[in-house]
Symmetry: C2
Subunit: 171 residues, 2 copies
């Protein structure tokens, strides 16, 4: 009976929208990275964020074993990068993808924000791990439009007619 | 030293984009609801989703005490509803907001998807709870554009020029 419910669950989440990020860790075999659409803010004080990783993925088990992880929030201009790191076979960490090394750290200058920290709590949940990252450093990129994932495609936010009025209402 | 880091953390998440949902539970004092921008899919088999609730919020403690919760993924036309349930003082569950009762359940017909289930795991994380909801039922609404939250305002996804090509790449 789980199949139909799982299918409806996936169909429900295709209706949802999400920002897109790359989660990257350094391993003895080199850097590992994967695209996630599950990034969210959990707490600002102390700063904690969460994302989930598939336990059956190639990258998931290697990333949860890392002492430190970086989360790069992608700009709308980085859809190619999101697609490449969502694809098990695509090439990773090529110079053409925009990566640079600064003080030993991998940096993606076009990311709209970069969060770095330690996986403080890794929760096994169904076919995934939910990772709570204790954030120790935040780098802000350009204030560019972020990449959005929705209905198996990539999008960019467009302003609603009433956005400015709602800014005031939400504070 | 946490203040500046917390400020940078918040600034980083203002660069991020997120779908918007209402989390609703029924309590002895009536229904309780709050807007979240932390909804994400964790696992399809078994179907699990996550969101976070501020521990200092009015709704958070009441919602984590509920045996069953409903998560309504909002359409881009529902920005007013999102703003109302993000505001501690605004009126809730008024007929004008579109709520109907069906078989005792609160239903929001214009939501693009509704997930119902039980909080299986509630994790205290900084100032919030991360709730893992064991999903038992999914209702799909119209395939309408979802509401997006970004930079303290509401948005709607607009197609990127290359979206169709990327659909094929991501599968």
């Amino acid at each position: 009976m789980n199949g139909p419910l799982a299918d409806r669950f996936k169909a429900g989440f295709r209706r949802h929208a999400a920002g897109v990020a790359l989660v990257v860790g350094e391993t003895p075999d080199g850097p590992v990275g994967v695209t996630v659409s599950s990034l969210s803010s959990v707490s600002a004080e102390p700063p904690l964020l969460s994302f989930s990783l598939a336990r059956t993925s190639s990258a998931g088990p290697r990333l949860v074993g890392c002492d430190a992880l970086a989360v790069f929030v992608l700009a709308a201009t980085q859809a190619d990068l999101a697609a490449a790191y969502a694809d098990r076979e695509a090439e990773r960490f090529t110079p053409g993808q925009g990566w640079v090394r600064e003080g030993g750290r991998l940096v993606l200058p076009d990311a709209v924000a970069t969060f770095r920290g330690r996986p403080g709590h890794v929760i096994e949940a169904g076919g995934s791990w939910v990772v709570l990252l204790e954030v120790e450093r935040v780098d802000l990129g350009a204030a560019a439009p972020p990449l959005v994932h929705h209905d198996r495609a990539y999008w960019v936010p467009a302003e609603l007619p009433r956005t400015r009025a709602l800014r005031a209402a939400e504070g």
